[in-house]
């Protein structure tokens, strides 16, 4: 696919240690195929993902940023991902206000047992970013 469009996106995925990272691990153990474009950054909680981290990922050349954590109610720290759930929609809007396509950032809940969902989410997001084209066009043009 990447050969066809000539664009292989870089996607930074922040994954929480307790759910999504374990889910990604399980997907690997089960030999499921997830996109190679995903650059995993393990964080202890999706609540740790500050807006600065997402902005810096875009600045450093990411074409898309995924923030993934436990489902609401499953957070290892009880309400860490509640903060993520509030913060990320604000950041998404803000990206749109300055003209960065908000579709380039996504928040997804993936639990440790949802290896197939991890594959599904990452594949769909990679496909979306591939269609959107490189961010560099938008940022440095």
């Amino acid at each position: 696919m990447s050969v066809e469009s000539g664009f292989d996106p870089k996607i930074v995925a922040f994954m929480c240690n307790w759910c999504t990272y374990a889910g990604a691990d399980n997907a690997g153990v089960a030999r499921m195929e997830s996109p190679h474009n995903i650059l995993a950054v393990r964080v202890m909680c999706s609540g740790r993902v500050s807006p600065e981290m997402v902005i810096r990922a875009f600045r450093s050349g990411a074409d898309g940023v995924l923030v993934m954590g436990c489902h609401i109610g499953d957070c290892h720290y009880a309400a860490g991902n509640h903060r993520t759930a509030k913060r990320m929609p604000l950041l998404r809007n803000l990206l749109g206000y300055v003209g960065i396509n908000p579709e380039r950032m996504e928040l997804a809940w993936v639990s440790a047992g949802e290896a197939p969902r991890f594959v599904e989410v990452t594949q769909a997001f990679t496909k979306k970013i591939r269609n959107l084209g490189p961010l560099a066009q938008e940022v440095t043009e």
Partner: protein, 261 residues
């Protein structure tokens, strides 16, 4: 109007250790701590300075003093958010509020041009919303981007927007952290610097517009912050500066402060 405020200040000087207000001296106007015996004729109401920052510094330097402050609507809103974040002790502060004039409200695009209980002035009609907000919000993505990139490219990274902001009091600032904002680059690379500040203004910005007035590059910063204010109201039903009892929702759980949409 100023006579009524001077009277209120003189009265407060009996019960408080001092009153923070503006004073004209040597041809300039600056914040001043009026104490017993000071010449109240030197007191002024304009231009605006972030007086609540002065109150906060005095409260921290002298943990027992009781202060009064001559405040506009924006000062009072700033006070509300600062008190929530432990920057001002509300039990040691008395607000002597006064309403802005209709012209001031218009010039500031101020939606609440008066404190809750003004001792002087009649609260005017709210100013119109900043027309730039609707204008740039309706532009297509590419045009918004070229507009903001052009604006941000004027930035000389003076940090004035942060320094003058009554809600910017963190001891360690993300905008000074080399991990997020690379040093030695002017203008700061799009979109790092300004997006970080805009994001941190969510649930804090009380629309006092001091940042925009002090920006030497004339960047229309409050357009971005007004949009953040709109979002936090739509998403979490929170209006910064409106209610001292309302907790700031970004640090609460979803049960305590649910998403509205």
């Amino acid at each position: 109007m100023i006579a009524a405020i001077r009277e209120a200040v003189a009265e407060r000087l009996g019960s408080c250790d001092g009153v923070v207000a503006l004073r004209r001296r040597n041809g300039g106007v600056a914040p001043h701590l009026f104490q017993k015996g000071d010449e109240l004729a030197e007191m002024e109401l304009s231009p605006r300075y972030p007086l609540m920052t002065v109150v906060s510094r005095l409260h921290k330097a002298f943990p027992a003093i009781r202060l009064g402050v001559v405040a506009r609507g924006c000062d009072e809103r700033a006070y509300v958010e600062m008190a929530k974040r432990n920057q001002i002790d509300p039990t040691r502060l008395e607000i002597i509020g006064f309403a802005c004039t209709a012209e001031e409200a218009q010039a500031c695009y101020c939606r609440e041009p008066s404190p809750k209980h003004p001792v002087a002035g009649t609260p005017p009609a709210p100013g119109p919303p900043n027309p730039l907000v609707a204008k740039y919000d309706s532009l297509p993505l590419e045009e918004r981007r070229s507009f903001w990139k052009k604006q941000f490219s004027k930035c000389i990274k003076c940090y004035g927007c942060r320094n003058i902001c009554p809600e910017c009091f963190c001891e360690a600032c993300a905008m000074e952290d080399m991990a997020w904002v690379e040093p030695g680059l002017l203008a700061p690379p799009f979109p790092t610097f300004h997006l970080i500040r805009a994001m941190h203004m969510a649930s804090r910005c009380v629309a006092c517009r001091e940042c925009e007035h002090t920006c030497p590059a004339y960047i229309p910063l409050t357009v971005l912050y007004d949009l953040m204010r709109r979002d936090i109201a739509d998403l979490l039903g929170y209006i910064p500066g409106a209610d001292i009892e309302a907790q700031q929702p970004l640090s609460l759980s979803l049960e305590q402060a649910p998403l509205k949409k």
